[in-house]
Structures are given as structure tokens and as C-alpha cells.
Amino acid sequence: MPHRTFFFFIFPSILAMVLFITLPIVSVVVQSLFVQHEAVLITVENCDPFGCSEQTRVDTEAMAKLEAEQPLGQFAGFSNYLNRNHLAVDEIGAIFADNQGFGDIVSRIFNLPFYKALSFTLVYCFLVTPLAMGLGFAIALAVNTLPGLLKGPTIFVSILPMIITPLVGSLILAWMFNPSGILGASLQSLTGDPGLSLRASPVLTWIVLLVYGVWTNGPFSFVVFYAGLQTVPQDTVESAKIDGASRWEVIRHVIIPHLAPLATFVALVQLMDNFRVFEPIVGFSAEANATSLSWLVFNDLVGQDSQLFGSAAATSVITIVGVLILLAPVLRRTWREFNQKAV
């Protein structure tokens, strides 16, 4: 295809991506270097029949003028990245300089908002992905043994947790895990602890969020692996059996190697999606016990009259760097393959 035609065909797509993906990334980087203006305070004298008093208040007029002149706020350099709500360099230094052993270090670092969010995001990402893939693989193997008539309805039901709106899905589970919901109440009576609830127990919150993650991510792996199972060469399976392979050995040495390329693809997609975990935190109202990087950005932006654009942008940039690190192995491999092809 000649360059001109190519450009003509792809132009709308590229324009949309440049305007609304590339430019916002630039905008985020720029914004992260600014902080919102400090409030301009003025002192006014209020006089009434009982005398005069001095009052300090925010000068809204001056603020509006300042914001119109410099909408980005004040230039702040890298201070957004280094302050307590982000990388917290000073605090980390203080913790390492003066602490009472390893446990103390961990618990104090965990109390810093950024590290709290980062730890949950990483745990969610790297636990949910393999667990959901395992669950999906098991369902795929099991559904494959079903008679044809039952397959359709089982697949239908299995797809639901994946297709559901993340916020809606997490709300549905959150209501069931509510202390007066069916699962929450059952948990209380099972453990004999009437105070057990998501709000009270950080451990339970993490577990329930991970369960939600596996529940909603499992079906994707299931669908992909199930389709992969249909293409397993039956000859190889038969000959493995003739050679005396047990059922487990067929799975281990024939089916799993056959599905390995698919598994790489699923793992990549799921890692990318799980790294942006966000809606479950809102749905389960879990922010007291578990937050994520995306939720931090959301929380900075959602403030009604004081949106912390600089702070949100700094977290966003750090998140984007995280995504790039996550993608690095894939990108490096593609780069190598591409260069080999070119040579």
C-alpha cells in the first residue's frame, strides 16, 4: 500500500490517539511539575453594633485572577513526586534512620499512602493473574468433558462475571459480603466473631478483593484456553496414551505445552488490566484498608472544589512508568524479533 493511501486510511485513528492519548500523557507530565496556588488570604475588619473584629478569609477574587493567569498553578519542580503523598523520600529516610526492626519499617512504610497503594496494586496484579489463569484452565478442562448439550449454558454462565461492569460486579459482591448480607452474615456465624466485617478487618478486605479479582478474571482465561483445547492435535494425545501416559501426564506434557503461547498472551493482557485495578476499591468501599494507584489518582481528582491536579498527575506519571516496566520484557522481545526479521 502506498504511503499516501496508508496515511489517508489511518489518519482519523491516529488523530484520535494523538489528541486523546499522547497529548494527555504530555499534559500529565507537565501538570505533575506544578502545585495548586496557595490560598490568597486577606484580612477584613467586620464592624457591627457590638464592635469591630478582624477576620481572615480567602480572597476569592484574587484567587480567580491568579488561576486565570496561571491555570497550572505554581511551578514546583519535582516536589510533587517527593512529598509525603508520593515517594515520601524524607519519610522513608527517617524510617530507615530510626526504627525498631524490620516489622516496624514495613508497617510504617505501609502507612504512607503511595506505598500502601503500590503494595496492594502489586499484590493484586501478581496474585490474581496466576490464580485466575489456573481457575480458567481448570474450568476449560472440565467444560471440555461435558456433553454438547450442557456446554452452551455452562459457557453462558461462565462468561457473566467477566462481561459485567466492574463497578456493578464489585457492588453485587460487596452487598453480599456486607455484615447483614448473605455471605457476610454467614462468615460471622461461621467464625463466631460478630464483629467481623470488611470495614473492621484489613485482611478480610484484601482476601475479598482478591476473590473478586479471580472471580471476574477467571472467565477470560477460561474462554481463551477452552478455544485452545479445541485445537490440541488429537493424534499426539492418542499416541501419548498408547505410549502409556496417564491422564495427568497427557495434560502436563501435551496440553500445557500446546497452550503455552496462549498463556503468555493471557498473562500479558491480565497483568495490564489488573495493574489498573480501581473499580473494586470504590465498589467495596475498601479505601480504608486497601487502595490502588488508580484509586489515588481518582481520589485526588474527585475533590469537589480543590482538585489536586499536580498530585494526581505525579501519581499518574509514576503509574505510567510502572506500566512501562511491566511491559518491558514484551517490548524487548518484540524489538529483538523485529530486528532479526529485518536482518
Binding site: M1, F6, F9, I10, P12, S13, I14, A16, M17, F20, I21, P24, I25, S27, V28, P71, I139, A142, V143, T145, T154, S158, I159, L160, I163, I164, T165, P166, L167, L171, I172, W175, M176, N178, S180, G181, I182, A185, S186, W215, V223, V224, R247, L262, F265, M272, F275, R276, E279, S294, V297, V302, F309, A313, S316, I320, V323, L324, L327, V330
Partner: protein
Amino acid sequence: MSVATRRPAALNALILAFLVIWVIAAAFPFAWTVWGSFKVEADFFSRQSWWMAIEGTRTQAQTGSAFTLAGYEGAWVKNEFWKAAINTLIVTLSVTIISLTIGTLGGYALARSGYRYAFWILIAALIFRAMPHITLVSGYMLPFFQLNIWGVLPTTIIVLVAINQPFTLWMLHSFFLSIPKDLDESAMVDGCTRFQAFRMVIIPVMWPGVITTGLFSFLLGYNDFAVTSMLLAQENQTMVPKIASFLGSIQNEGNVMFAVAAVVSATVPLFILVLFFQRQIVSGLTAGAVKG
């Protein structure tokens, strides 16, 4: 199948038990919430026993019948959920149509160009695909405020289309690759321009791929929370941010059943979608996997 006949009974029982547990885990939350949405709060969130939600004891006492539409009335009529539903309809349909239009053009170009830059565009799209949406949103907010285009539906639609483009491009690109080049080339030999060949020859055989990709664009627009909740003003909210706004205000007033009814209402279209397009959804996920 010869494999099935030789499977020992114990293994069969194990597989069946596992599947039954999974099917319950996948379906029960929905069934329970749909059932509970027709009860009053004291039943659905019963402090005494969950059996009350099944029998509807309190619902009977409060409304005189075991089922009540109070939650739906509260959500749709009192809190104007219908407006949000209409907005969702506008947003998702526009997103799907625009995404497919510019996506098919771009995907076709990528599939037919052998040059280096096509490869790099695909890699860039992969990276964009991985960006958490909320990080991009924090880049939009300030410029949109300045340009005074924040809060309205068209802005949100365009943003969702753009966020959706990387995925759409990848998917359609792999569908176009499966259509032989000879087809459009012979059309061009017969005197078609490139665009005519695309429009008259390729698109008619591409329908299955377009429909499948369209389903996923629809789902992205429908399920999005990050973009719609941040970029839409209160009066323009779509269903998902509306539900989120129910959580704060209405839950505190003891009207949590409004939110439950709204959640069930938002789930119904997805059920219908899966019911009719199960095969396309499955094939779409697989196509991406096999080719990608």
C-alpha cells in the same frame, strides 16, 4: 469420545462437583441480587437471617406483598435513572459506531501495509492499550476545563473512542489479516480504487469481524467508570457513574435498595447481549489470542 468412556467414575464426580461449584459461584450473585432487588432493605440486608430475603417477611409486612417495585420506582422515577439510561444509550452507540468507522479504516491500512511504520504504530497501540484510563483522565481534566468542553456527552464520546482505538485497531487488524490480499488486489485490477475495494469487496466479507469488534467497543463504553465519572457533569451522567453517586447520598438516607435496583437494571442489557452474541464474544476473545 473414546476419552470420555474410559474416565473413572470418581474423576467424573470430581469434575462435575467442581463445575457445579463454579456455576454457582458465577451465577448465584446475580440471581441473589435480582431476587433481592424486589424486597425491602430489611429483608435484603436482614440482620436476623438471610432466609428472610427469600421469603420476604418484612416486605410482606411493609408493603402487603412478597415482592415490591419500590426500589425500581425510587431509582427510575424519583432519582431519574431513566435520564442516565438514555445518556448511556447515546454514549455507547456513538462510541461503537465511531470506533468501528475509523477503526476499520485504520485496521485495514495496518493489515495491508508492509512498511516498518505500520509495525511501530501497532507497538505504540499496545503500549497505549496498557495505560490505566484514569491516568489519561487526569491529563484531560485541566485542558477540558480551560477549553470549556468539560461535562458534556460529545467530549466523553470522543475520549472513549480514542481510548478504545488501540484495542479496536489490534483486533480489526488481525481480522483483516485473515482475509486474502488477492481479494482486494483483484478488485483493484478490475478498476476499483483502494477505497472502493475496501468498501465494496472487503467490508462485506468482514462483517463477522466488525460485529465482534463492535461488541467489545460497546462493552468498553458501557462498562467504563473512570472516564464517565470524571468527565461528565452531574446532569449528564451515564448509568455507571449514576450508580456510584447513589452510593454516597442515597445509601445514607437508607435507600440502598434504589442502588440495588439500579445495579440490576444496568445488568439486564449485558445479559441480553451475552444471550444473543455468546458465540461472537467467545470468537472475539479467541481471535485476539490466537493472532495477537
